[in-house]
């Protein structure tokens, strides 16, 4: 039964992922659609960051915000993503001690 669930989950996850690989060759998008698709990464990043970041420590949403602010500052200084991630982890670790 669990295997049936896993196969079902795999199919409904794989199909939406793979369909665009066939669509982009068949369909010629007008310029505004291309611009729309090119803006999707930035919009997706926004939607993935907030409000999810509030749930890093669900009972204290400020912990996530603080980690995020530190990440923003480190990234503004031009640090490598790995250092941004480490800085945020350390911040949250110290705040929740």
């Amino acid at each position: 039964m669990i295997f049936f669930i896993i196969i079902g989950m795999a199919l409904v996850t794989m199909i939406p992922r793979v369909l665009p690989a066939y669509i982009v060759d068949k369909v010629h998008f007008p310029n505004w659609v291309n611009k729309w698709l090119n803006a999707i990464p930035y919009a997706a990043l926004g939607a993935l960051i907030f409000p999810g970041i509030l749930s890093v420590k669900p009972e204290q949403p400020m912990v996530g915000i603080l980690g995020g602010v530190v990440a923003i500052i480190l990234a503004l200084f031009g640090l490598n993503v790995i250092l941004v991630v480490l800085g945020a982890i350390i911040t949250v670790f110290i705040t929740t001690l």
Binding site: F29, L45, L48
Partner: protein, 245 residues
């Protein structure tokens, strides 16, 4: 003379390939940081929900979508029916269709041999990193960059789940909670350089955040992220000039 020229070209090609693979792994490391603790936690949770280590690992191998795997494990623990779990997975993961459409449109020149496997490796995180690195799509052997990036993430996800299933809770709670910020920090770390180049990018992201937030008040998280992403990017049509697009 001819053979010498030919061998130099082969060397160039293979070193270009190697360079792309190295770059891909390097860009995949932050995802690994984020995935390992989450995968371990998923393994532990799924074990508690009654899955065997084989089932836990196979789900990671075939589904490779963290949030839906957590959801499935907790629904199984509650004794939810198979169809409900599968439909809920579809709803939660449909956002990858939107992301894949954007990513595949960038990789138009790659051919199905690359596009199909790369599309299957798309998660929120691999998409975020891959789509911020657009220049590799136009470079020689660029496909190896994206493949190495995705495989780094995929391997850490599968191994992490397996280890969570066999070892149980090995990360101290304080540390695993702190590492919960990792992927958000990575998203921020990817977004900020683009904002520095073009401030309007921040506006697109903020619109998407607010719409996602408002939508989550009355719809599921999966659809809220899709709606926020689509509308936020719609603003991008007017905000971004042709050079960024």
């Amino acid at each position: 003379m001819t053979s010498k020229v030919a061998s130099t070209t082969t060397e160039d090609t293979s070193s270009a390939r190697l360079r792309m693979i190295q770059r891909g792994i390097a860009k995949g490391i932050p995802i690994m940081f984020g995935y390992l603790p989450i995968a371990l936690t998923y393994g532990v949770l799924a074990k508690q929900a009654g899955l065997t280590v084989v089932e836990i690992t196979l789900m990671s191998v075939f589904v490779f979508a963290g949030a839906s795997q957590f959801m499935a494990a907790s629904m199984m623990a509650l004794g939810t029916g198979a169809m409900e779990i599968i439909i809920a997975t579809f709803v939660l993961n449909f956002r990858h269709f939107v992301m894949s459409l954007s990513f595949m449109n960038r990789l138009k020149g790659f051919g199905q041999r690359w596009k199909v496997p790369l599309s299957l490796g798309l998660t929120d995180e691999t998409f975020a990193v891959a789509s911020i690195h657009t220049k590799e799509a136009k470079q020689e052997k660029g496909a190896y960059f994206y493949a190495a990036l995705i495989l780094t993430a995929y391997t850490s996800w599968v191994i992490g789940s397996f280890m969570g299933g066999i070892l149980g809770d090995i990360i101290p709670a304080a540390l695993s909670q702190s590492m919960g910020i990792a992927l958000y920090a990575m998203f921020i770390g990817l977004l900020i350089p683009s904002v520095k180049k073009e401030v309007k990018v921040a506006l697109i992201a903020i619109i998407a955040m607010l719409i996602n937030y408002m939508c989550q008040l009355f719809m599921s998280e999966g659809w809220a992220i899709v709606t926020g992403t689509l509308i936020g990017a719609l603003a991008g049509i007017h905000l971004l000039g042709d050079q960024e697009a």
